[in-house]
Amino acid sequence: MSTDGPKVLVVEDEQEIRRFLRVSLGHSGYRLVETASAKDAVLQAATQQPDLMILDLGLPDGDGLDVIREVRQWSAMPIVVLSARGQEQDKVRALDEGADDYLTKPFSVGELLARLRVALRHAAQSSDGKAAIYDVGDLRVDVASRQVHVRNKEVHLTPTEFRLLATLVKHAGKVVTHRQLLKEVWGPQSVQETQYLRVYMAALRQKIESGDSVPRYLLTEPGVGYRLYSGGAER
């Protein structure tokens, strides 16, 4: 209800989804701009200058990926993608094209709001240019000083492990695709070598996680990538 809340552009062709988004997001203080078509989406993104875009990948008049590509040419605004189940490949491609996060329909409003919060926070941080410090639960990562503490005990990581963790910290709360991780940690030539990632992730988990079979911080998104837990109730 506040008039200065974040402005969200909702690109979604299903009227019922737009309706519930309007109610729930409006109630949470977001201002909504809606459109049902891919063509209009780019125009709205340019003219309305929204703080964030919620984009449905299955639009009738065009490919949501094209919208991401076009918008990314001139804007860093967070884009959260909505996709149906079975569209894993589209989802990963959207993320690799520059989308910030994704939600699989059907999703709960709580989940959506958490993602939006993370996305907006990251946008703010990157514009701040502040060095990231991650401090959630028992885990504290200081990227600048390269220090990692678990339950106030310093943990020694190999350089690659640290680069991996640091990359996740940079995107804390957001999903990072295998490809993005491999590219940032091992370089562009290694984007296919997901097994590196799995081996190092396993090693990292051994050092950071409590040993429980359910990881708390380093979360796997099957078929997509990893996500560093960033607190809150979204999981």
Binding site: L157, T160, Q195, V199, Y200, A202, S213, P222
Partner: protein
């Protein structure tokens, strides 16, 4: 006058009886389309001409109709006085039968055969008078119009609208020895009518209006001509139906002509066609393939094929029969097909040949029964060239040398015997030798040995010895008897040998057919049937064979036999297609498309042609003989029947599957509709309550309703997801993207995803320290684990323990989900993985029965195995394997780097 008038049939019978006693007079009918065409005139003209030649011609009765020209003609002839009858005050003049019989001229002229006599006459009708006159041996000239023929009565009535009452039995017309058609054009007739030449003018006008309409006349003329043509053709061919009188009403005619390779057959075929055309009857050209003709020289076979083609061109149906007994086969076939006339050629063989071999024409006439047999002479035709003999010249000379040798041996034995035996007894030795030769080498060497034997006997034993001269003329008789006996032995043994050969041949074919039948009937598979059938065809005929079957779109598929692998050329397919369409053989050796490489036979089953059997005979061999084609047809029929049987079996199986599928579909529908509706009902109920009574509800109630909506939505979502997965699995749309990864990672994902649902149970994860990387699709295996865990939660009681464990093996990793529930009912270990199999739970809320089916589908896609068993104490354990296939990624470099990092880090 007479109370009892004989009925026509009785009279006819009587007349026939009389006819056999005395020579019956000849009946000539002047036949016309209508009154006024000039029949009477023509009749009188003919009578006068005959009278001029000195024949005794008397006019019994001529209807004057007051026609001057007619009467003028009558004047020159002897006229029988008319009988005057008065009836009901009217005086009528009638033909005087008694007078005519008394006068007994050679030819009697009686006009209007159809006339009805005045009441009180001897016969009711004039034609009965005429019959009596004929029976008395007097020839009769009479006139008749087409409308008076009984069988045409209806037709005429249809054409003219006038029913003619005065009719003449067809038999009378048919019995006429001569028919003369008197014909003028309808225009001329009308002209004559107008001029008053037919009726007196007052009558003429009425007649023109009613009967003599031009259209009527044209139709009547055609009718008359056709009727006459039928008769004329029959007479032209000088054939008399032998038993025509037996049938007052001839049945539909059907002709059969016997065709052979002789050039005379062409003439026969043409003659048959002429007769058939006259009778408007269908006709058949039949060739009987007997073993001698199977060995026909090439030229003869070609000529035979030409004859069959000619017959087809002339509109006949061609049939080839096989059998030794030519006449028997023809007669049997004729009977079967209601043939009324058989036409055969006069045999051109010598009388001697008739005696030794028998004459099929004689056999035919002897056995034909009520079928008429027409023998057509082959005058002026050259007999078939003796190609057969020429071919025999090519034969091996060895048998003849053998004959020579045998005679030599007999002579030697004769010398040994000559001291103790009379020379005439030595003849027996030669006869024995001849018998041996004929048994061993057949006819010609045997004949040679007969002649040589006689010569040797004469030369060596008959005094004076060592000359051909004969001292005692008695020996000439011995020679004659010896030669004759030798020749008869030769012929008889040769025939015997041939018959034995034929019998063996038949036996072989029968055995082959039996073997084929037995094998084919035991086969179910279409492909096996075709292969077995082809094997038998190639074995029996030493030819390449191939079966072509049409698919749904009508394209032909070739099924070649394995060993020889004959695949007809593309252009042969056109022949096959023709055969398929027409259901008749074609290609080499037939009359249709004979230029083709192979012989194509339709595989005819009850439902029609199911395929084509293409048989390629070696190019150096003559075209297949009809007997071979016949055998092939039989084999083809067997294959076709088996194929049809297989197709029907397949069809019924398909139908069964369809029924099963239908059952499954309906169970799916009922399950899905139930599982969809239940959550929908809950959601609709809860949400509408919230909408209606929003403020009135206490916060806890509102929360409960909302929670119910969320839960039910979740349930609905899972159901839809399962259905989608199942569809993708069954449609083959599920793509497995395997990546090398750890099992523990995916277990972690599933546990965190299901955390809320698993809260009611204790979940324990037992993983060994070092699990190898396994290639699998994480999304799909996650689904498997989710389904297994949900299953466990559903069946195991709350607070019980669910254990997830993994065990590495050399080639696979086995993952187990074990619960402490009621376990699996005995015998259901496999069935629970079936689609729509639902277990029963204590809570009574079974799922749609897809979860485990999806698990099985996914695990199978990974090349693994999933199974369930009860645990020793309680509960069920579900296990599945993920095979470690392919080369694991080389992590050495990574591990090494990691290790160095450890040291330096």
């Amino acid at each position: 006058m007479t109370d009892e008038r004989p009925n026509p049939d009785e009279l006819l019978a009587k007349v026939q009886a009389e006819e056999s006693l005395s020579a019956r007079g000849r009946l000539k009918i002047f036949f016309g389309m209508a009154p006024g065409v000039g029949k009477t005139y023509a009749m009188l003209e003919a009578a006068r001409k005959t009278a001029k030649e000195g024949t005794d011609v008397v006019i019994g009765y001529v209807e004057p109709h007051a026609r001057p020209e007619t009467q003028a003609l009558v004047l020159g002839l002897d006229v029988l006085p008319r009988r005057v009858v008065s009836y009901g005050g009217v005086t009528l003049e009638e033909f005087d039968l008694e007078g005519a019989l008394a006068r007994k001229p050679q030819i009697l002229i009686v006009d209007e055969l159809a006339h009805t006599n005045a009441p009180g006459s001897t016969h009711e009708r004039r034609w009965q008078d005429v019959e009596q006159v004929l029976a008395a041996g007097i020839d009769v000239y009479t006139t008749l119009n087409v409308q008076h023929i009984e069988s045409l009565n209806d037709v005429v009535a249809q054409i003219t609208g006038i029913v003619v009452r005065e009719t003449v039995s067809d038999a009378v017309f048919e019995r006429a020895d001569e028919i003369e058609l008197v014909d003028i054009s309808p225009d001329d007739l009308l002209e004559r009518l107008r001029e008053g030449k037919v009726y007196v003018p007052a009558q003429a006008q009425r007649a023109i209006e009613h009967f003599f309409q031009k259209g009527n006349l044209i139709a009547l003329r055609e009718l008359a001509m056709r009727q006459a043509a039928e008769r004329v053709d029959a007479q032209m061919g000088e054939f008399r139906r032998i038993h025509a009188i037996d049938r007052t009403w001839p049945a539909a005619e059907r002709l059969l002509v016997c065709v052979g390779p002789s050039p005379m057959s062409a003439r026969l075929i043409r003659a048959t066609r002429r007769i058939a055309a006259g009778l408007k009857a269908p006709w058949l050209a039949v060739h009987v393939e007997s073993p001698p003709s199977a060995a026909l020289p090439f030229a003869d076979r070609e000529r035979l094929a030409q004859h069959m083609r000619l017959a087809e061109q002339l509109g006949g149906e061609t049939v080839t029969l096989a059998g030794n007994d030519v006449a028997g086969e023809v007669v049997a076939y004729a009977r079967e097909h209601n043939v009324t006339k058989i036409i055969a050629g006069k045999p051109q063989q010598s009388r001697w040949r008739d005696l030794t071999r028998g004459s099929y024409v004689y056999e035919l006439t002897r056995r034909c029964g009520d079928i008429d047999v027409y023998i057509i002479s082959g005058e002026g035709e050259t007999p078939a060239p003796k190609a057969a003999r020429a071919q025999q010249a090519d034969r091996d000379w060895f048998p003849f040398l053998g004959a020579l040798g045998t005679v030599a041996v007999c002579t030697a034995i004769g010398f040994l015997m000559s001291r103790h035996f009379a020379p005439t007894n030595i003849v027996m030795v030669y006869l024995l030798g001849i018998l041996a030769v004929s048994l061993r080498w057949g006819r010609w060497p045997s004949i040679l040995s007969s002649v040589l034997g006689v010569a040797a006997f004469d030369f060596c034993f008959v005094p004076p010895q060592y000359t051909f001269a004969v001292a005692d003329t008695e020996y000439l008789f011995t020679f004659a008897v010896m030669l004759f006996t030798g020749l008869v032995i030769s012929t008889l043994t040769a025939r015997l040998g041939f018959q034995a050969e034929a019998a063996r041949d038949r036996e072989r074919r029968t055995a082959a057919l039996f073997a084929t039948t037995r094998e084919l009937s035991s086969l179910e598979d279409r492909r096996a049937i075709i292969e077995a059938g082809l094997r038998h065809v190639t074995d029996l005929l030493a030819a390449d064979a191939c079966v072509l079957t049409p698919d749904a779109a009508g394209r032909l598929t070739q099924h070649a036999c394995g060993s020889r692998g004959y695949q007809p050329h593309e252009r042969e397919n056109a022949v096959a297609r023709w055969v398929l369409e027409h259901g008749k053989p074609a290609g080499r050796g037939t009359q249709t498309l004979p230029a083709a490489e192979s012989l194509h036979l339709p595989l005819l089953a009850a439902s029609g042609a199911v395929g084509v059997l293409a048989v390629r005979f070696p190019a150096d061999r003559p075209p297949p003989a009809p007997a071979q084609i016949h055998l092939l047809e039989t084999l083809g029929g067997l294959i076709a029947l088996s194929l049809e049987r297989a197709a029907l079996a397949h069809e019924s199986e398909q139908r069964l599957i369809q029924v099963e599928a239908e059952k499954l579909r309906s169970s799916l529908l009922s399950a899905v509709s139930h599982d969809l509706r239940t959550p929908l009902a809950a959601i609709a109920g809860a949400s509408s309550t919230l909408l209606e009574a929003d403020r009135a509800l206490p916060p806890e109630a509102r929360r409960e309703l909302t929670q119910s909506i969320v839960d039910e939505t979740d349930r609905l979502n899972r159901l839809v997801a399962n259905l989608l997965d199942m569809t993708r699995l069954e449609g083959g749309a599920m793509v497995v993207e395997k990546q090398w990864q750890g099992v523990e990672e995916i277990i972690g994902v599933v546990l965190s995803r299901l955390a809320a649902r698993l809260a009611s149970h204790r979940v324990e994860v037992k993983l060994p320290q070092h699990l190898p990387l396994v290639p699998f699709d994480d999304l799909l295996i996650q689904q498997v684990l989710v389904n297994l865990l949900e299953n466990a939660v559903k069946y195991a009681p709350e607070d019980s323990q669910i254990t997830i464990s993994a065990k590495p093996e050399p080639t696979a990793v086995t993952i187990e989900v074990a619960d402490e529930g009621p376990g699996i009912p005995a015998g259901d270990e496999e069935r629970i993985f079936d689609k729509f199999h639902r277990g029963s739970t204590a809570k009574g809320r079974a799922g749609v029965g897809l979860g485990l089916a999806i698990c099985r589908g996914i695990v199978n896609l990974h090349g693994g195995r999933i199974w369930a068993q009860n645990r020793p104490q309680r509960g069920a354990a579900f296990r599945f394997t993920l095979p470690i296939e392919g080369t694991p990624p080389k992590l050495d470099a990574v591990a090494a780097a990691s290790a160095t990092e450890q040291l330096t880090g």
